[in-house]
């Protein structure tokens, strides 16, 4: 059973544009929703995370929007840069268990 569903699988954005990646979950027991960024040959690294008691969290150009009633959350990358080209994974967590989405390969074209 896929605990977290992520879309799109791949995304191409022009430099300066907005990148949007969406995730949905089923288990209402999840209480922590991190996003991980992965560059080729490297392990995923925490980018930004949100708890379900807030609807939005912003860190620099990266924003998470969270809709608890719809059980959906999304990552927005404003003013996308070529250096943002990577694979992005959403995740849902409860205490010590983490479940990852299928990943989105983002390419930002100069």
């Amino acid at each position: 059973q896929q605990q977290v569903k992520q879309s799109p699988q791949s995304l191409i954005v022009q430099k300066g544009g907005i990148s949007i990646i969406n995730c949905a979950y089923e288990n209402t027991a999840f209480d922590y929703f991190p996003w991980y960024q992965q560059f080729p040959g490297k392990g995923p690294a925490l980018l930004i995370a949100i708890r379900p008691d807030v609807s939005e969290k912003k860190e620099g150009r990266f924003t998470i929007s969270f809709n608890k009633s719809a059980k959906q959350f999304s990552l927005h990358i404003m003013d996308s840069q070529p250096g943002d080209s990577a694979t992005y994974f959403c995740a849902a967590s409860r205490v010590d268990q983490f479940y990852f989405g299928t990943g989105t390969s983002l390419t930002v074209i100069p």
Binding site: G43, A49, T87, S93, F100
Partner: protein, 115 residues
């Protein structure tokens, strides 16, 4: 920032052979994980380990897999008799206390190729 260290970075083995993947989690972390990723796709949970025992495992983690913390620093994943479909990138990860909202730290991975 502290790091999770994995060795080797690449491992090539013949089908049916045993392999051991090694990890050194962050020193004050208590929860350890193995994940795998096939062809840069989905990160799949294999097993979590706490207090010297498995706390949870996935359907992938069958009798061919085992984990061990042989000393105070290393955390290993053993595949007893490798199959072609075991070819993947294996990631070790750790968190400090297992409390809610903790950051999961990943190592750089071991690319396993089974021929």
């Amino acid at each position: 920032e502290p790091e999770v260290t994995q060795t080797p970075s690449h491992q090539v083995t013949q089908m049916g052979q045993e392999v051991i993947l090694r990890c050194v989690p962050i020193s004050n972390h208590l929860y350890f994980y193995w994940y795998r990723q096939i062809l840069g796709q989905k990160v799949e949970f294999l097993v979590s380990f706490y207090n010297n025992e498995i706390s949870e495992k996935s359907e992938i983690f069958d009798d061919q897999f085992s984990v061990e913390r042989p000393d105070g620093s290393n955390f290993t994943l053993k595949i007893r008799s490798t199959k072609l479909e075991d070819s993947a990138m294996y990631f070790c990860a750790s968190i400090r206390t297992g409390q809610p909202f903790e950051k999961l730290f990943f190592g750089s991975g071991t690319q396993l190729s089974v021929l």
